[in-house]
């Protein structure tokens, strides 16, 4: 870990910058969703709105993880653990695809499709 006080002082500056960036992007997310001429596409799942929202959120989350949680310079072992986790996390998120890729449901259950 960063051991010397000077190094840590340098880090503190970075933390401040990141904090302001995060707040700035919070304003941007809300603006994109709420200000009419910035608003991207329809709300709901089809619009670009979700993509933009999630992209901003992912960017913010990466900042938190990399800078605040020191993942930018962590031991390899932690990366390995997290790599597995991220993989299975995506496996988990794919649950919903099974709902979509469901020919039987499309044929029999949904009226009018």
């Amino acid at each position: 870990m960063e051991s010397t006080p000077e190094e840590i002082r340098k880090h503190v500056k970075a933390y401040k910058v990141v904090g302001y960036t995060l707040i700035a992007f919070t304003f941007i997310t809300v603006a994109v969703a709420k200000v009419p001429f910035l608003d991207v596409g329809a709300h709901g799942l089809t619009g670009g709105d979700i993509t933009v929202g999630l992209l901003i959120a992912s960017f913010k989350a990466s900042l938190v993880a990399l800078i605040f949680m020191h993942l930018n310079a962590e031991k390899s072992l932690i990366y390995k653990v997290l790599l597995f986790t991220v993989f299975f996390f995506f496996g988990l998120m794919f649950l919903s695809l099974f709902e979509l890729w469901n020919p039987i449901r499309q044929i029999f259950l949904v009226p009018g499709t």
Binding site: F88, G91, L92, L95, F98, W101, N102, P103, I104
Partner: protein
């Protein structure tokens, strides 16, 4: 949960150790102990009690299957008029016992025994650690388990009885069952979920602890490839628990919300139950529950089997006096197995109407996962080749494990193909398949472990004759139970029929007699456990004394400690010099070279002997 981790993680070790353990009062030393060995024994004892309870439930069920309308002898009247009118088991009671048999065996019996007991007792010893990394967390995880067990078992005595809809607790049935009682909270279905939340928390804490311990507390010289296979299996099992249990926790929380807060996570729009439209918003999906459940469910079956395979992998080299064959490939196989086990879960759901593309994907991964399984079994089989095998009792169980587990695994392959599974799903074939893996498989592996490590725990051997008296009848009865199930299953017997299929006599007639065969085998299996139970307690006091700290002439580190190991395990810090299974090394005088003996201290064989050995 989170608070306990963050508060107890850092400080747990130091204070617990600062005090002299022997000065602790009885309840701190043996009840609320933070010593991994005591906790391991607590786990083991509790788990054996639950295994016995689960076994009892099953014996009652087997009566109902074999003799559906007649009174159960001995216990019939004790079950109460409500559940067993005139001593005849009611379908409701059958369902309840069925659900709780599965739950108790899996979550309260085998996992705690395999992971909790053996894992706790053996892992720190094998890697040369003084204790687990977080001893108090370890204690907390035992008590969470205990609490979960109490909640589960206590639910039998509620007005509603315990949970009734299978160990998988599928919604919507699980949500709409037992809602007629004054308090929905105090029903078996709700307490099942609550109990699961406790058990899951326990496993998560345990997993964090095990993985940290294995990563960070290995003794000097204990490199990754010198770890005994058992430790590898514990590491992988730890990861399975750590990453697969949270989705089940999500499922349990959601189902709790459905029951208590009136949400509709798993309840579709327009759902009727008992002829009435439910007063719910709807919009949920029963499939979501199944996905979340089986996301845990499949890794969970490897949680059940890996510790047993690993125990067998310890016992076999010790008794063949040969190194484990293919140690490295086994290590990689177990990692691949753990990895793949996360992406096969939907093979339990072929019949839910998932899409064909999805079915095909899961069919493929399921077939793939049998490759590492086969590598493990094959390596163990080859390890027997050319050895001068000592048939000690643990070895008997270990050798029996191989074909039994193999049979269980091979019968899984047909199930992996969705077309065949259309016929076999929810029949006794599935029951037979997984019981071959867990009963004569895992349980035999665990018996091997008990007989094998007993001398380390107590300083005495378990009785040999009683061990044989335990083993042979058990082996025969196990097959008497599960082989007929495979046949009945292929003949289409449904797995949940309380009368064993008599209602459908026209089609089941030819195979009905097997119900009796199975049931009698099950009861005889119970009888076969009597020598074991007696042996277990009797040998603590009167068993043959182990003549040294290493009575099996083994090579792994747990045998270097004093017997039983004191608090802190090792009098001096151990150093590891070699691979775990160095049996019959050329040039050595003895047929085992323990991990902890420096090269200089190895007794050399007399020169001519060494030559002879080198030649052969």
């Amino acid at each position: 949960m989170s608070s306990s981790t963050s508060t107890t993680l850092p400080d747990s070790s130091e204070e617990a150790h600062a005090e002299d353990h022997h000065a602790l009062p009885f309840w701190r030393q043996y009840i609320f102990s933070s010593d991994h060995k005591i906790i391991g024994i607590q786990y083991g004892f509790t788990a054996l009690v639950f295994l016995a309870i689960g076994f009892f439930l099953m014996m009652v069920m087997r009566w109902s299957i074999a003799y559906p309308t007649s009174e159960i002898p001995l216990v019939g009247k004790m079950l109460g008029e409500r559940w067993a009118p005139n001593g005849v088991i009611s379908p409701d009671l059958y369902n309840m016992f069925g659900a709780m048999h599965g739950t108790i065996m899996v979550f309260l019996g085998i996992v705690p025994l395999a992971f909790g007991a053996f894992g706790n007792f053996v892992t720190p010893l094998q890697i040369g650690a003084p204790d687990m990394a977080f001893p108090r967390l370890n204690m907390a995880s035992y008590w969470f388990y205990f609490l979960g067990g109490v909640v589960m078992f206590g639910s039998f005595f509620l007005e509603s009885g315990a949970a009734k809809v299978g160990w998988t607790n599928y919604s919507p049935l699980a949500t709409t069952t037992d809602t007629e009682f004054a308090s929905i909270f105090w029903t078996g279905q709700t307490l099942w979920l609550l109990g699961m939340v406790f058990l899951i928390s326990s496993s998560l804490l345990g997993a964090v602890n095990f993985i940290t311990t294995i990563i960070n507390l290995r003794a000097r010289g204990m490199t990754w490839m010198r770890l005994p296979f058992f430790v590898w299996a514990m590491l992988v099992t730890g990861f399975l628990l750590l990453l697969a249990f949270p989705p089940l926790e999500v499922a349990a929380i959601m189902q709790l919300m459905d029951r208590l807060a009136g949400t509709s996570f798993f309840l579709p729009t327009g759902l009727y139950a008992g002829g009435e439209r439910l007063d719910i918003s709807g919009g949920g999906s029963p499939l979501l529950y199944q996905h979340l459940f089986w996301f845990l469910g499949h890794p969970e079956v490897y949680v059940l089997i890996l510790p047993a395979i690993a125990t067998v992998a310890e016992v076999i080299p010790n008794n063949t006096r040969k190194p484990l064959w293919g140690y490295k490939s086994m290590v990689y196989a177990v990692m691949v197995l753990g990895f793949l086990s996360f992406i096969v879960w939907a093979h339990h759901m072929y019949l839910t109407g998932m899409g064909t593309a999805v079915s095909t994907f899961f069919q493929t991964t399921t077939v793939l996962i049998s490759i590492p399984s086969v590598i493990l079994v094959t390596s163990l089989l080859i390890s027997l080749w050319g050895g001068s095998i000592r048939f000690t009792v643990p070895m008997l169980f270990a050798t029996a494990f191989l074909p039994m587990f193999g049979f269980g695994g091979l019968t899984g392959l047909p199930l992996a193909f969705n077309l065949i599974d259309l016929h076999l799903h929810d029949t006794y074939y599935v029951i037979g398949h997984f019981h071959y893996v867990v009963a004569p498989g895992t349980i035999f592996g665990l018996f091997a472990g008990i007989y094998y490590w007993f001398p380390k725990m107590t300083g005495r051997f378990m009785n040999n004759f009683l061990g044989h008296l335990h083993f042979w009848p058990s082996l025969i009865c196990m097959n008497g139970i599960f082989l007929p199930m495979m046949i009945q299953g292929m003949a289409g017997f449904h797995r949940r029929a309380f009368d064993g299929g008599q209602t459908y006599e026209a089609t089941t007639e030819r195979f009905l007699w097997m119900n009796e065969l199975t049931s009698w085998s099950a009861w005889l299996l119970a009888v076969a456990q009597i020598p074991f139970i007696f042996n277990l307690f009797w040998s603590i006091r009167f068993g043959r004394k182990a003549n040294s700290d290493n009575p099996w002439d083994a090579t792994t580190l747990e045998w270097s400690t004093p017997t039983p190991p004191p608090h802190g395990n090792f009098p001096t810090e151990p150093v590891i010099y070699r691979n775990p299974y160095e049996y019959s090394q050329p040039g050595a005088a003895k047929d085992f070279t323990p991990q902890w003996i420096p090269d200089e201290e190895i007794e050399k064989a007399a020169p001519e002997k060494a030559k002879a050995k080198a030649k052969s």
